[in-house]
């Protein structure tokens, strides 16, 4: 059992690199990413697990990083928006107008990456259900729907 009383050094796998970082027991993964690792692509919208702007992938699963303790993620593989370099989902969001202000976009994209790996076949109902964990106040989700369809096509090609 690890002693989590004071600041500790964590070793995390982030975007394919091992990063050693000081964390306090109460630090959320979101705060650790943004404030200690400078990975500000992960956004803080509510810090309450409601909006999904802070979604990252932990071992491939979408996690609201404001709701995860950094210490819990030791040994896990974490993927943030900075680690997705030219992914088809990113291209689809750009081309299909899947964003306006862009603040929800990193979380949307990471959640979409997880969705497309869980549901490679077209399934609009599943898409809507899956994406409802993330709020977008700008687009009405229509551009995001189009982006999902387009990304699914290019992932199959």
């Amino acid at each position: 059992m690890k002693d989590y009383a004071g600041p500790i050094e964590l070793s995390l796998r982030i975007n394919g690199e091992t990063r050693r970082v000081q964390a306090r027991p109460g630090d959320s993964l979101l705060r650790l990413l943004r404030e200690r690792l400078g990975l500000t692509g992960t956004k803080c919208g509510c810090e309450n697990g409601d909006c999904g702007a802070c979604t990252v992938l932990v071992d491939g699963a979408p996690i609201k990083s404001c709701m995860a303790l950094a210490v819990e993620c030791e040994g896990s593989d974490i993927l943030t928006i900075e680690g997705l370099r030219g992914h088809p989902v990113q291209k689809a969001f750009a081309v299909e107008n899947g964003f306006q202000c862009g603040f929800c976009t990193p979380g949307m994209i990471l959640n979409a990456v997880a969705l497309l790996s869980a549901h490679p076949e077209e399934d609009e109902e599943a898409d809507r259900e899956w994406m409802q964990s993330n709020i977008c106040r700008c687009t009405g989700y229509e551009g995001i729907r189009l982006a999902l369809a387009s990304a699914r096509r290019s992932l199959k090609d």
Partner: protein, 752 residues
């Protein structure tokens, strides 16, 4: 339906996580600032004790009103908003101290130690209470809680009612709505070596932010330089409050000499930011048996909350558009904004129109039902047509009045007539009731007679053929920079890759007003065209000789500059170099002033707006009898926006606006109890999510508008202002129940 491909100059930045929003910036030596709330809804003799906070680890300074070198109170119209409260507390959102510390955690810990004392006063919590002559007077100016009064007087409604077959008197209510931009307010202010404070803020209006900051600091505007950075949504909401956050950080930076970051959490944002005004709307409408609306009397009350903000302008729009897109000869309207101790209300996308449209478009269907006339026919009889007079007496003869065309497009696309016959009207075999509903609107584009309306643009040609573009329109996430780039590329006939939108700064481009009121494309685009005219004239004069033609024969297309008969041409690289060799700067400044508008305060008559956007939206839905739950099935929207600049973005604005209207119609309700917000986060304030939206179709109608130099009008607000009544009408057609207040809640017992 498929959207056409979008162009966004910030596309890569936003899908890669590189777009930097205010809280993403950090600089060495930066302090963190947090607000301390006064914790009263209404109180006097405010005393703030800071000693314990100052002694807290890491705390550097606690700022209170006595430290303010400039004005503690500011505002866009009345300077009544306490950037830092002094003695009197008027709302639960009032901030009375600012705590600065080395880390955010330390600042939060110290802020908890600031002790606030005051003598509580009885708060005024509803418009009804506020209108009681014995109620406490909320505002610090004047002697009444009625802070705005607009009136419109046209014809003689009382006489006209006498000849009417049907007289309908109805009252409607709309709710308080939170803007809910996904990015809470934040600011980073950096003191520069030359004495200027640089502001990087999550704000919608850099010039407004500069005014608030300069006022608080008591310094000239030129001492504050506000830069445009990525903003996580605004919807009209990131003006006053966001400007205050920037101003406070600027004050912290000035007083400590260190960079200061102030980032809001969601609870603070909910508590402090202004919302959409809730309205009470009372209408008396007189109609002939053929369905001609002869007379209207309207009285509206908007809760302004504790501060005035832009309530006079919001309610002015409600006055000028008090009976929707209908031509009526006899109209009296009285529109009031009333002060209470609630969180204040201000600008939100739609700006006094969604509330009015909810009442008016519900009334039209109610009249149709009473007279047994088809709702479409009733609208056709009364709607504005070419050369019609509006309720303000404005003749619509300077642009194409496409109200009927726009409605027909929607009716045809969705198959309205047939589906209307299939509505349940409260009776269905199974558990599902079906309804279709529709609403139409027109919207005065840009500010209208509510404000100064002009915009400027700077074009700066570079030696290598690249071009820098800057306008006074602000990128709030809507894609304005991309639209300006497309407009410039088309006007110069050049490749858009040549054009870079320069990050605007308030110290460079002149104050062009705020990016509000659906004015970005019409005003910014026209300013670009004005600059292009200057730029082309300059280039033509200096390149004609090399192109072996006269200056007025030079033309611009296919990414080149051409002489007569296309014999000679210059690339942009050659052309720009040529100007530099002639010691001429390829630089142009363009300014566009909106066409004249007019308004007579005594009778509410005049040319309120220089043009209008015409809109129609229809919705199909089902209602589950067991639960009363409304399920949206299909939405079709058509808008005459003059000319499409960036089609995919235009559709994106339509779908986004529709979605915000779905929230207004069915779910959103920012409740206050004893003046305090009930919700502190998105678990208590429910927004539309992906599962709440049906398939949507946007139809773009393009009647180029001569008032705009590009032919384009705008879409931001038309998109949100009419779906709520369309849903209310569809709910009625499904259930036979008429919803007169928002959000619509159906009781299963009433559906049995």
């Amino acid at each position: 339906m498929t959207a056409e491909k979008a162009f966004r100059n910030d596309g890569y930045a936003k899908v890669s996580g590189r777009a930097a929003y205010a809280d993403d910036f950090s600089v060495a030596g930066m302090l963190h600032m947090v607000p301390v709330y006064a914790e009263y809804v209404s109180a006097k003799n405010l005393r703030v004790h800071t000693e314990a906070a100052l002694a807290s680890p890491g705390c550097v300074r606690v700022i209170t009103a006595k430290d303010v070198p400039g004005r503690t109170h500011f505002g866009q119209i009345e300077k009544d908003y306490p950037i830092i409260a002094v003695d009197r507390v008027r709302s639960y959102g009032d901030v009375c101290a600012l705590v600065l510390a080395e880390t955010r955690d330390q600042a939060l810990a110290a802020a908890a130690l600031v002790r606030v004392e005051a003598e509580p006063l009885k708060p005024v919590l509803t418009v009804e209470e506020a209108l009681n002559p014995y109620a406490p007077v909320v505002p610090g100016y004047g002697d009444t809680n009625i802070v705005v009064e607009h009136k419109l007087r046209k014809g003689d409604p009382d006489a006209a009612f006498a000849g009417c077959e049907l007289i309908l008197e109805e009252e409607f209510h709309t709710q308080t709505i939170e803007q809910a931009y996904l990015e809470p307010e934040a600011a980073l202010c950096v003191p520069r070596h030359d004495g200027v404070i640089e502001v990087y803020g999550s704000m919608q209006h850099p010039f407004s932010t500069r005014r608030f900051s300069a006022a608080l600091l008591g310094e000239p505007l030129s001492n504050i330089e506000v830069y445009t950075i990525a903003v996580g949504g605004g919807f009209g909401g990131k003006d006053d409050t966001a400007a205050c956050v920037c101003a406070r950080a600027a004050l912290g930076a000035r007083l400590t000499g260190r960079p200061v970051k102030m980032t809001y959490d969601r609870a603070w944002s909910f508590r402090e930011s202004y919302k959409r005004h809730p309205y009470t709307l009372k209408y008396k409408v007189g109609v002939t048996s053929e369905g001609r609306v002869m007379a209207v009397k309207a009285t509206m009350y908007a809760d302004s909350g504790a501060y005035l903000s832009v309530s006079p302008w919001v309610t002015w729009r409600s006055t000028a558009q008090c009976f929707g897109p209908y031509s009526v000869d006899n109209v009296h309207a009285d529109v009031y904004a009333v002060a209470t101790n609630n969180i204040f209300n201000g600008a939100m996308r739609g700006f006094g129109a969604p509330q009015v449209n909810f009442a008016v478009e519900s009334l039209m269907d109610m009249i149709a039902a009473e007279l047994k006339i088809h709702p479409l026919g009733l609208r056709r009889i009364n709607m504005v047509k070419q050369d019609s007079l509006t309720v303000t007496g404005q003749k619509l003869d300077k642009h194409v009045v496409s109200m009927e065309e726009v409605m027909n497009r929607v009716v045809h696309d969705i198959g309205y007539r047939k589906k209307y016959e299939q509505c349940s009207f409260g009776k269905a075999e199974g558990d599902e009731l079906y309804g279709i509903g529709l609403a139409i609107s027109y919207r005065g584009a840009s500010l209208g007679a509510e404000g100064m309306d002009f915009c400027s643009c700077i074009l700066n040609g570079q030696y290598d053929g690249s071009l820098l573009l800057e306008t006074g329109i602000h990128e709030n996430g809507q894609g304005s920079e991309s639209a300006m780039i497309l407009i410039l590329a088309e006007a110069l006939g050049c490749d858009q890759k040549r054009i870079r939108y320069r990050r605007p700064s308030t110290s460079n481009v002149p104050d062009s007003g705020t990016t509000v009121a659906t004015r970005g494309t019409i005003m910014g685009g026209s300013a670009v065209m004005a600059a292009v005219a200057e730029f082309k004239a300059l280039l033509s004069a200096h390149l004609a000789e090399r192109l072996r033609c006269k200056p007025d024969e030079v033309n611009f297309h296919d990414d080149k500059i051409w002489g007569l008969n296309y014999e000679y041409s210059l690339s942009w690289e050659e052309a720009m170099r040529e100007l530099y060799l002639q010691r001429v700067t390829p630089y142009a400044f363009g300014s566009f002033k909106a066409p004249d508008v007019s308004w007579d305060d005594t009778n509410g008559q005049g040319d309120a707006y220089f043009t209008f956007v015409y809109s129609c939206q229809a919705v199909e839905l089902s209602v589950e009898k067991k639960t009363g739950k409304v399920k949206l099935l299909n939405i079709v929207a058509a808008h005459d926006i003059g000319k499409a600049i960036n089609r995919a973005m235009l559709l994106g604005q339509i779908y986004g606006g529709i979605t915000q209207a779905v929230g207004m119609a069915l779910m959103e309700d920012f409740k206050l109890e004893e003046g305090k917000p009930v919700a502190h986060n998105f678990d208590g304030y429910i927004l539309p999510r992906s599962t709440d939206l049906p398939p949507m179709t946007g139809i773009i109608v393009e009647n180029h508008d001569p008032a705009s130099l590009t032919g384009a009008k705008g879409i931001g607000e038309p998109a949100i202002e009419l779906l709520a009544p369309a849903i209310a009408n569809a709910v009625y057609n499904a259930t036979g129940i008429r919803a007169k207040s928002l959000p619509i809640k159906l009781n299963p017992e009433d559906l049995a």
